[in-house]
Symmetry: D2
C-alpha cells in the first residue's frame, strides 16, 4: 500500500439525520469522491474515530498516533475537524519514515458546494511529494503546524 | 403575481456554520434552484419564519395564516419543517379562494443529494393544478392533511 | 402501478464519454434523483427510445404511443428532448383514460446545476392531479401542447 | 503572485448549449470551485485557449509556452484536454525557474460527479511542493510526462 487515509470525524464527515433533526458525524462520505477521481495509486481508508475535534482527548490522539505507527504505508493522510487539527498534528511529531498530512473542511463533504474534495486531493498530493514530517493541507496551501492558525472569523487557515 | 412561496425554516433551509460547528436554519437556498428551473410563472419568495418546526408556536402559525391572507396570489406554497407540517396545514383551514400547498424536505436543500428541489417543484405544480384548499406535497404525492402522517422510521410521509 | 415513466432520450438523458470526447444519450440518470425523493407512489421507469428529439421519426412516435397504450398505469410521464416535444405530444392525442405529461430539460440531469429534477417532479405531480389528456410540464408551468412553443433564444417554453 | 492557472479548454471546460444541443468548450467553470476552497494563496486564472486538445496546433502550444514565460509566477498550473496533454507537457520542457503542472478531467467540471476539482487541487499542491520542471497531475498521482500514458479504455493516466 502506498498511501493510507485515516478518518477521525469533524465537519468533513458530518451527515444529517432528519428523524432527529440533528447533524452528526457519520460514515465518511469522501470514499465516493475518491471513486470518481479513479485513483491510480494503491490506498485504503480506515475510520479511527468519529468525533467533533473539540471533543478529542489525549487518549484519542494516542489512538491516532498508534494507527499511523501501525500502518504499512509511509504516506499518510488524516481527515480531522479543523478546530483542534493543529493540536493533533503536534501530537504526531517525531514519527520517522512517514509523511503525515492532516486535512479537513469547513463545509461537510455531503454539501453541493464544499471544500472537502479540494482539501483531500491537496493532502493526498502533499503526502506523496513532501519529505517525512507532519503537515497541514488547508485552503490550497501546505502549512507547518507550528506556523499555522485557524482564523475563525474568515473561516480559514492562515500563516502566522 | 400568480404564486407566492412563503419560507418558514425547517430542514430544507438548514445551513452549516463551521465556526460554531452547528447546523442552523438560514436563508432559504431554494432560490438558486428555482433560478436554474428558469420559471415561466410570475412568483415571489417571502421569508416568514426561520425555525425548526418543532419550535413553532400558535403565534407563529397565526403569522403564517396572516401572510397567506395578505398575499395577492391565489396560489400559495409554504416550505416548512416536516415534524409539524400537518399541524400548520390544519391551522390554515378555511381560507377561501386560495390553493395552499405545504412542502419541506428530509435532507437540507444545500446537500448534493436532497429531496428539496423535487418537493418544491411538486408543490408548485400542485398549487397551480388543484382547487382551493390546503394540501401537503411530499414524497411525490399530494396528501389531504387529515389523512397524512410522517413515518419517522421510514423518513417519509404516508397515507393513513 | 399508479404511474409509469417512459424515457425517450433528449438533453435530460445526455451523458459524456471522454474516451470519445462526445456527449451522447445514455441510460437515464433520473432514477437516482427519484431514489433520493423516496417516493410514496407505485411507479416504474421504462426506456422506450434513446435519441435526440430532432431525430425522432413517425415510427418512433408510434412506438411511444403504443407504449402508453400498453401501460397498465393511467398516469403517464414521458421524458423527451425539448425540440420536438410538442410534435410528440400532438401524436399522443386521443388516448382515452390516460393523463399523459411530457417533460424534459435544458441542462442534462447529470449536471450539478440542472432543471431536470424540477421538471420531472412537476410532471409527476401534474400527471396525478390533472384529468385525462396530453400536457407539457416545463419551466414550472403546465402547457396545453397546442398553446406552447419553445423560445430557443430564452431557452424555455412559453405560452402562445 | 504565487501561482498562475492557465486554461486551454478540453473536457474540464465543457459546457452544454441546449439551444444547439451541443457540448462545447466554454468559460472555465473551475473558478467557482476555487472560490469554495477559500484559497489562502495569491493566484489568478487566465484563459489562453478554448479548444479540444485534439485540435491543438504547434502554434497553440507556442502560445501556451509564451504565456508561461511571461507569467510573473514561478508556480504554474495548466488545465488541458487529456488526449494531448503529454504532447503539450513535452513542448514546455526546458523553462528555467518554473514548476509547471498540467491537469484536466475525464468528466466536465459542470457535472455533479466529476474528477475536475480533485485534479485541479492535486495540481495546485504539486505546483507548490515540487522543484522546477514539467509534470502531469492526474488520477491522484504525479507523472513525469515521459513516463505517462492515457489508458483510453480505463479512462485514466498510468505509469509506463
Amino acid at each position: 500500500m502506498e498511501l493510507e487515509i485515516f478518518t477521525t470525524g469533524g465537519t468533513i464527515d458530518k451527515v444529517y439525520f432528519d428523524a432527529k433533526s440533528t447533524f452528526e458525524v457519520g460514515e465518511s462520505p469522501i470514499l465516493e469522491d475518491l471513486h470518481e477521481a479513479n485513483l491510480c495509486i494503491d490506498y485504503q481508508i480506515t475510520a479511527v474515530l468519529r468525533k467533533d475535534s473539540l471533543e478529542l482527548t489525549n487518549a484519542d490522539r494516542a489512538l491516532v498516533r498508534q494507527a499511523v505507527l501501525n500502518s504499512t504505508a509511509s504516506r499518510i493522510v488524516i481527515t480531522h475537524g479543523t478546530d483542534t487539527m493543529i493540536a493533533t498534528a503536534q501530537a504526531l511529531a517525531g514519527i520517522p519514515g512517514k509523511t503525515i498530512v492532516l486535512t479537513g473542511s469547513m463545509q461537510p463533504a455531503r454539501f453541493r458546494l464544499t471544500d472537502a474534495v479540494f482539501n483531500v486531493a491537496s493532502a493526498m498530493m502533499a503526502a506523496q511529494t513532501l519529505l517525512e514530517g507532519v503537515y497541514i493541507a488547508m485552503n490550497g496551501r501546505i502549512f507547518d503546524p507550528s506556523k499555522a492558525s485557524k482564523n475563525v472569523e474568515q473561516n480559514r487557515f492562515e500563516l502566522i
